[in-house]
């Protein structure tokens, strides 16, 4: 393992920023969720890299990553259900047009 830790951190920072760009710039609600997935993965890379480089005998990093998996799965399931439900009623998936509660 001759790779320095900061390579992982920079990769994860780049992935996070790409995900952030996706979330902020996309119109389609599904595409926004795709960006969120990228950001969650960036976080996971960090967690696993720190687990490996600090103390592999302490499993906190991996356990945290597993919890992130569970949260990501839950988020996608509910998020996509909401998007499909909105699409059924309003025939749109563009986040800006879902503005019934805007005043």
């Amino acid at each position: 393992m001759s790779i320095p830790l900061n390579w992982y951190l920079i990769l994860s920072a780049a992935l996070f920023c790409i995900g952030l760009f996706g979330v902020l710039s996309r119109k389609n609600a599904i595409a926004i969720l795709l960006g969120v997935e990228l950001m969650l993965n960036a976080v996971n890379i960090n967690l696993v890299a720190f687990w490996r480089y600090l103390d592999p005998a302490v499993m906190t990093g991996q356990v945290f990553a597993i919890i992130v998996f569970a949260v990501a799965a839950a988020e996608v399931a509910v998020g996509l259900a909401l998007i499909i439900s909105v699409y059924r009623r309003r025939k749109t998936v563009i986040a800006d047009e879902i503005d019934l509660m805007k005043w």
Partner: protein, 170 residues
């Protein structure tokens, strides 16, 4: 340049280029499939980091479940946003500038900390990380409470998703 550095760089190139395709490509179904490629790259990264369990779970959960859900959602809503029209907002440069600024700041911070340039020691042979992970998830002085809370969260998400998407609730 050792072999693991080359593998890491190839893998990083795969992740970054597919992630860029995810946020820029016009066809949403392609975006979802590029997400699969990016997630696969992350799984390889976990394998390089000797977290084999996470690598496999990444493929099972993200590619086997989450990506398939995304593809389904795109197919079910594709009448509207197939290819016509712009996929990004008109002021897309603002998030781009923001992203680049945050990235530059983060890289600056990471490179400024000498502790982050360390390399990892070999995992001792007697440390069985898979067994340790299993024990940590269910032992009382480990993470049994977060583990159980996560299961409740998943159940709630399951019920919620079925209720919202079933369409019989109006």
């Amino acid at each position: 340049m050792t072999a693991d550095k080359i593998v890491f760089l190839l893998c990083a190139a795969l992740i970054i280029s597919s992630a860029l395709m995810v946020v820029t490509t016009r066809k949403l179904i392609h975006a979802a499939l590029w997400l699969v490629a990016a997630l696969f790259g992350v799984a390889i990264l976990y394998a390089i980091l000797q977290a084999g369990f996470l690598a496999v779970v990444q493929v099972v959960v993200y590619i086997g479940a989450i990506a398939i859900l995304f593809i389904f959602a795109v197919m079910l809503t594709r009448k509207e946003m197939l290819d016509k029209g712009a996929q990004t907002r008109s002021n897309w440069w603002l998030p781009a500038v923001l992203g680049v600024l945050i990235l530059v700041g983060l890289v600056f911070l990471i490179l400024g900390q000498p502790i982050f340039s360390r390399t990892a020691a070999q995992i001792p042979v007697e440390v069985d990380t898979l067994r340790n992970l299993g024990t940590a998830l269910v032992s009382q002085d480990g993470f049994v409470l977060p583990f159980e809370v996560a299961s409740v969260l998943l159940l709630a998400a399951l019920v919620g998703a079925v209720y919202i998407a079933s369409g019989n609730n109006n």
